[in-house]
Every structure is written in C-alpha cells, then in structure tokens.
C-alpha cells in the first residue's frame, strides 16, 4: 500500500511516560491533505511502521476506512474523512485505558479545565471558540480526553470546526481553505486564529452543560446542576465513543465531585459566551 501521508495522534498521558499513538495512513492525496489540515499539530513524517487506520480510495465505489477492528465505506471524501475521525476517536479510546474519550469541548480557565460535554448541535464548539477568543486556551473541540482516575483533561489538537452561522455570531471572519470544498459553509480554526493556544493538561474544575433553547427569552442563565446529572451527561457522551466499565463510572463520579457543575440555558451564543467568560475568568481577570 502506498501512503501519501502518515499522521500520528498522540495523547501525552504523563510527562516522560508517553501515551497512546494511532497512526493513520491515507492513500489519496486529497484525503491526506484533509487529515493533515484538520490535525496539523499531530503530523509526523511517514514512518516504517504500518498505520493503524487506513483511508483509501475505492475508485467509483467511493472510499474506505479500515482499522484492525472494522472496515467501513463512505461514498464521498468528506463523509470518509468524517468516518475516519469517528474511527480514530474509537481507536484512541481503545489505546488509552483509564481515559474517557468523549464528545465535548474543553478550555482552560481560572482554576483549571472547563468541560462542556454535549452532542452535536448543542453549541459547544461555538462556546469553546468564543471562550478561546476571550483568552481561554483550548483543550479540545468535539473530542475531549479525560483521565478519569486523576480528573485531568488532556488536549486533543483537532482544529475547531465552525459553521458560518457560528462565525457570524462570534464575529470571526470565515476562512477559506483546502477543506472548504469538503465541508461547505464550515471553517476550521487553529487556536492561534482565535488569539489563543492549546492548553496544557489541566485538572477538571467545572462542567458546563450547554442547553441551547430557541424558545429561551432574555439573558442566558447559568444554574447549578446536581452531580448525578453531570455524571450522567458526561458518561452519555463517553458512551457515544466507547464502552464504560464500573471503574470508569466510579472514577467519573469522583472526578466531578469537586468541580463546579452548572447548566447554561441560552438562545444567543454570543451572550452565552460573555456570561461564561465573565464567570470563568472572574477570579483572576
């Protein structure tokens, strides 16, 4: 197999101890470009080891994403890259025992990491990007790595993907790039594009459950939620990616025990970002 590019996704689980690496090989130049643009901070030179995941062209039959565990097909390149992201996330989860790999966003803030778990469409990317633009370094968007045992969030350096509505709300100019043809109406942002950076591993200090509600009138509201509600929502997002064992469940319960827990009900993302930023950066402006 000829690989046009190899991308290694590495989670630094501990200083000097190394972490899990998933190598991705792509046969198609356009797909290689897509993956390397989407994950620029993980790119490494091609190595001699075979990749764990392969995205390949099947000609008129579309594309395939192949791992040791599964072999999935997709009709278009954009769907194939999306599929690759899903499989990659599952492979990372399998490579990182003791970690929760969950759907969510996270930023660094005063006192530690703020986790925003939620399914697609919950508004977490817009909130994370907005917070990054207000000085919070990013830990991840869409995929977040949580060391359950220690309650520490690690950066997962995938670019933030925002649709044009979100960039309008955040007053960030949409970007044209090589992937604009793959995802029309979406732009990719590196933290530095937002005036921010990747955050170092940070202890979990707050969990914000996003509740975008078009019927909500008035200002956004931040309301405390119970630990049970927070644990349930976090694990529901982990369960989209991997199976959870009893130990992971108990560790998650412990991890959120000392965190601030709240739901954010809002209609307008820009005002929700303002409220969150004022709350999260309040102690040490």
């Amino acid at each position: 197999m000829k690989t046009a590019s190899v991308v290694a996704f590495r989670a630094e689980t501990d200083e000097g101890a190394g972490g899990a690496t998933v190598r991705v090989g792509v046969e198609v130049t356009a797909a290689a470009a897509a993956v390397s643009v989407l994950f620029p901070d993980y790119r490494v030179p091609p190595g001699s080891e075979p990749p764990d995941l392969v995205l390949a062209s099947l000609g008129e039959r579309g594309y395939s994403v192949r791992s040791k565990r599964e072999h999935l097909g997709a009709p278009t390149l954009s769907e194939a890259v999306g599929l690759l992201e899903q499989v990659l996330t599952r492979e990372l989860a399998a490579s990182l025992p003791g970690f929760g790999v969950l759907h969510g966003a996270a930023v660094g803030a005063t006192g530690g990491a703020v986790l925003i778990p939620g399914p697609g469409g919950a508004g977490k990317s817009t909130l994370a990007a907005g917070l990054a633009a207000r000085g919070c370094p990013l830990l991840g968007d869409d995929v977040v790595l949580l060391d359950l045992e220690r309650g520490v969030l690690y950066p997962f350096k995938r670019l933030v993907k925002l649709d044009d509505r979100a960039t309008g709300i955040l007053r960030v100019p949409p970007r044209s790039g090589p992937l604009r043809s793959l995802w029309p109406e979406r732009s990719l942002f590196h933290p530095r594009d937002l005036g921010s950076s990747w955050a170092p591993p940070s202890s979990l200090s707050a969990v914000i459950l996003p509740r975008r509600d078009d019927a909500h009138s008035g200002d956004p509201v931040l309301r405390p939620v119970s630990g049970g509600e927070a644990v349930k929502e976090i694990l529901e997002q982990v369960l989209l990616v991997e199976r959870v064992g009893s130990e992971e469940f108990l560790a998650t319960a412990d991890a959120v025990a000392s965190a601030r827990l709240a739901e954010l009900r809002f209609r307008r993302s820009d005002r929700a970002v303002e409220l969150l930023a004022s709350e999260l950066l309040r102690q040490h402006p």
């Binding site: 630990g227 049970g228 349930k232 369960l239 009893s246 469940f249 108990l250 959120v256 025990a257």
Partner: protein
Amino acid sequence: MEATEARHRPHARDDVVFRRVDEDWLLFDPVAQEIHVLNLSAALTWSFCDGRRTEAEIAREVARAFEAPPEVGPDEGGEPDPRGPREPPPEVRVREILRRFRAAGLLEGSSA
C-alpha cells in the same frame, strides 16, 4: 398476579453499581451501558433488593424510612385532602419502582 409479585424477593444484580453523587443516587448497568438517576424512594427500594425481602417487606421498609403515616383515603372515611391528591402509598410506589427495575433488567432473573 400482584399477590404473586408481592411474594417475590427482588435481588439487585451484583454487577450493577450504586453510587451517591451529591444529592442524587445513580445506578450504572455495565452490561446495558446505561445510567439511571434514582429519586429517594427508588434508591431506598434498590438498597433493600437483597433477595431476602419480599416486595411487601421492601414496601414496609421504605414506608418506615419515610415514617409514612397510615394511609386513610376518602373511601375509608377520611375527608378529601384540600392540598390535592396524595402521593400513592408506599406499596404502590415500590411496586412501580420494582416494575421499572425489572423492565430495565436491573434485577436478577429479569431481562431488559
């Protein structure tokens, strides 16, 4: 049917994890990969599902925990409660909770 169920001795599955988090009680089912948030009645009911107590005994334990007064409804000579309908009596609540536990496959011998 209800009389038969009342003689059953519900037994919580050993692998289901019960954990208090803040003011909530959670059950985690590692097989179904489901998390259930319980209210106080359900949490108490779960804690008594030891395979030794019958449903009726569990209902009595739950009622005792709440220190529930004897139920006397309008049909038994009592006046209608001006505060509106009462909570169902403990045995009814416990029966419904156990039905839900069974439906979720959380008890030995039940299947989701």
